[in-house]
């Protein structure tokens, strides 16, 4: 039998150039030039400039929230949020998230209280949240809306209200999503979106904080530094969280291109559904709690015993083909510094997180990906499964 056409078995890679996971929207060059020329003509570069104001208004309208505060990046937005909420003590949050979620708490002087997630949706598990809420010194719940889906908003809100602590959201993955027709952005005390280049709305780097609470918005603006936007109010400490005019220009173009970005992602996601249908041991996640998703990520769970290869083996196969699949979030936040030293025994309380960290894989979607690429990625996965034992032997030999 001749060797299967896989790069790990010596064949040429399926892709000549690396295929990334992120959205990577880029405006047309001429639109970029025009937007930047406008900035040079106005000679207004930063400090709550006209484009940032325009972006904040556009987002307020689109998301149906009172206040949108644009920021340099989502991590700084989360840090500002924790400051503005004057958090202390412990904050309930998932360990199955990007590291920045917990880092924002540590920066603000609070501590993450890691809580497990639901095995099907990967979102924060309300049952576990309820148990954690009544521990000592809990000052808030920082929930994360993952994978273009959302948490159980209503149940989390009910629980947090019962305990009398604020609930707020890291919605870095959720721009453009809707719950029962209502845009994500206006839930809880506040929500933070990411406009990093890898997200569906790009400002190169950037993000925003959304809230309907006037007092909270005023504090956020004062912490960010806002050059006259909103009334001055006392805050514990300020920072620099400003978004520049250049970042706002990209975000406005990205927002303009939103319908096309959305359609492309939707079509690619459908192509993955078709291409991966019936692959045993591979579950493609379907955002289920939203009435509309943003198709920001293609997330698979690999059940090694059924698929024939484990997640890391499949990841290695794909990398060899120049498919830059990712293993978010491995290791979980609880296994990263400084938390693994701070909370050495927490793993036992996070069985679902532990399992997901070794079984979840993201496949490429976004502006750098087309239908042919999706078909080829799916075909690589099927081929790898068909030749699983050979692949495993080759990978073991390579790492020995």
């Amino acid at each position: 039998m001749s060797a299967a056409p896989l790069a790990v078995l010596g064949a040429a890679p399926a892709f000549e150039h690396p295929l990334p996971v992120g959205q990577l929207y880029f405006p047309d060059w001429s639109d970029y030039v025009q937007a930047m020329r406008g900035i040079f003509e106005r000679q207004y570069y930063t400090n709550q400039g006209p484009l940032v104001c325009e972006l904040e208004s556009a987002l307020q309208e689109r998301l149906g929230v009172q206040h949108v505060i644009c920021v340099a990046n989502a991590t700084i937005g989360l840090m500002m949020a924790a400051e503005a909420l004057v958090l202390r003590g412990r904050v309930i949050t998932p360990a199955f998230s990007f590291i920045a979620t917990s880092q924002s708490l540590t920066w603000a002087g609070a501590e993450p209280l890691f809580c497990d997630v639901d095995p099907r949706s990967h979102q924060l598990d309300p049952v576990r949240v309820e148990q954690a809420l009544w521990q000592e010194d809990v000052s808030a719940v920082l929930a994360v809306n993952l994978w273009g889906d959302v948490c159980d908003y209503a149940e989390l809100a009910r629980l947090a209200a019962k305990r009398g602590v604020p609930l707020y959201f890291d919605s870095a993955h959720a721009f453009g999503c809707e719950v029962n027709g209502r845009a994500v952005g206006g839930f809880g005390a506040l929500e933070v979106f990411s406009f990093h280049a890898t997200k569906v709305l790009s400002a190169a780097e950037g993000g925003c904080v959304c809230t309907n609470d006037d007092a909270l918005a005023a504090r956020l603006r004062n912490i960010r530094s806002s050059y006259g936007a909103g009334p001055p109010v006392p805050v514990r400490r300020t920072a620099n969280g400003r978004m520049s005019e250049a970042q706002a220009a990209i975000a406005l173009l990205s927002l303009q291109g939103w319908p096309a970005i959305y359609e492309r992602n939707q079509a690619l996601f459908t192509a993955y559904e078709v291409g991966l249908q019936g692959v045993a041991g591979l579950r493609l996640l379907h955002p289920g709690a939203v009435s509309r998703t943003n198709y920001q990520y293609v997330v698979c769970e690999i059940e090694a015993a059924v698929f024939g290869l484990d997640r890391d083996e499949l990841h290695a196969v794909l990398r060899a083909e120049n498919v830059l699949a990712r293993r978010y979030f491995a290791p979980g936040i609880h296994r990263c510094m400084p938390y693994r030293e701070q909370f050495p025994d927490v793993s036992a309380d996070l069985p679902v997180t532990e399992a997901l960290c070794s079984s979840v894989l993201q496949l490429p979607i976004g502006q750098a990906v087309d239908h042919a690429a999706v078909a080829r990625v799916a075909s690589v996965i099927r081929t790898a499964q068909a030749h699983a034992p050979t692949v495993r032997t080759a990978l073991q030999r390579a790492s020995a």
Binding site: M36, F40, N73, I76, I99, A100, A204, R327
Partner: protein, 398 residues
Amino acid sequence: MSSKRHRSDLALFGGAPLFERPRSTSSLVAPDFDAFLAYSRVFYDARQFSNNGPLVQQLEQRLAQLHGTTHCVTFCSGFWALVLAVKCLALPGRSEIVMPSLTYRRMADVASWAGLVPRFCEVDPQTLAVSAQTVRPSINSQTALLLGVHPIVNCCDAVGLEQLSDETGIPLFIDAVESVYETVQGRKVGSFGRAECFSLHASKLLNGFEGGYVTTNDEYLAGRLVRMRGFGFYTPDTVQEFGMNAKLNEIHAAMALAGLDGLTRQVERNRERYQTYRQALAGLRGIRLVAFDEAERCGYKNILVELLDDWPLSRQRTLELLNAENVFARAYYAPPLHLKVGGASAPPGSLHVTERLAERFLLLPCGHFVDEQDIRQIVELLRFLHAQEAQLQPGVLS
């Protein structure tokens, strides 16, 4: 020349402002647009907006060269550059950072984010800067870090501070935001202490929209800073360090690179503005221009004046009159931090020199929007204020 002949010509009393568009103390230099686009093309073709892209790498190399250091690490702002560097450099287990009170208005917040408490110290009345002599009395068993700060014009005695650091074993970190182009005893600013910090904010000598950077000869520190600005990732799948997102994006890097290309020319233009101010202010009583030390290399960016005892108006009144004319002069570091944020280290009244200096200095308009004609008009306006002072005091009725 200034058309102001009567009190009623002044904007504060209903006259038309001297300038339609404000003249500020921000540099706001516009680099060559085509150069900016040419740099932009690099990240555009590489399809990379951020995450240590090609332009960030190029910018870091060129800035290290500019400052004569082995390493440069860029950040999304000078603020977070300061916070991360302070966090890295502070001696573990100690709680205080010694810093001047007469400095950047967010510096106490920088210390707070880095987990330290500021201990405010005096400045030298001649240089307006900290020196070994003013810092030494603030050092105690809790001192984790010495923060030297180059003032708005000229530099602090970085050599003396280095000696103090060597002698005490407490690391020295320098806020060099206003001294990109300067030298101290002929040595380029950037390599003093353990590290120095700069800003790429649009108001500074190098306009990168927003941004900042740290220069150092310490390879370990540079590596740590690179990891900390990117969430602490050591490899794509391992986080070894506490961090955040403080990455500079590629558009901002393109802007700063285009600015670097035009830096010599910008400094030359700044020098011309400074000379014009110097000549025009020479005959005006009551105002002293803080001179650049031209024995060293200077960026000539900021125009700082002292209101002397024979200047007839208060600084507050002078600022009101100027600002109404769209002359956006600003008070120099007022109020000083110890009066603003409080704290046990320096109660009001304890820093006599600082408190006196904080009442006397003004920054006058400078940078890209200000030409020689503007400068003559601004000085003419000051001359008019001086001449009409009796009518301009607060509360005087027409």
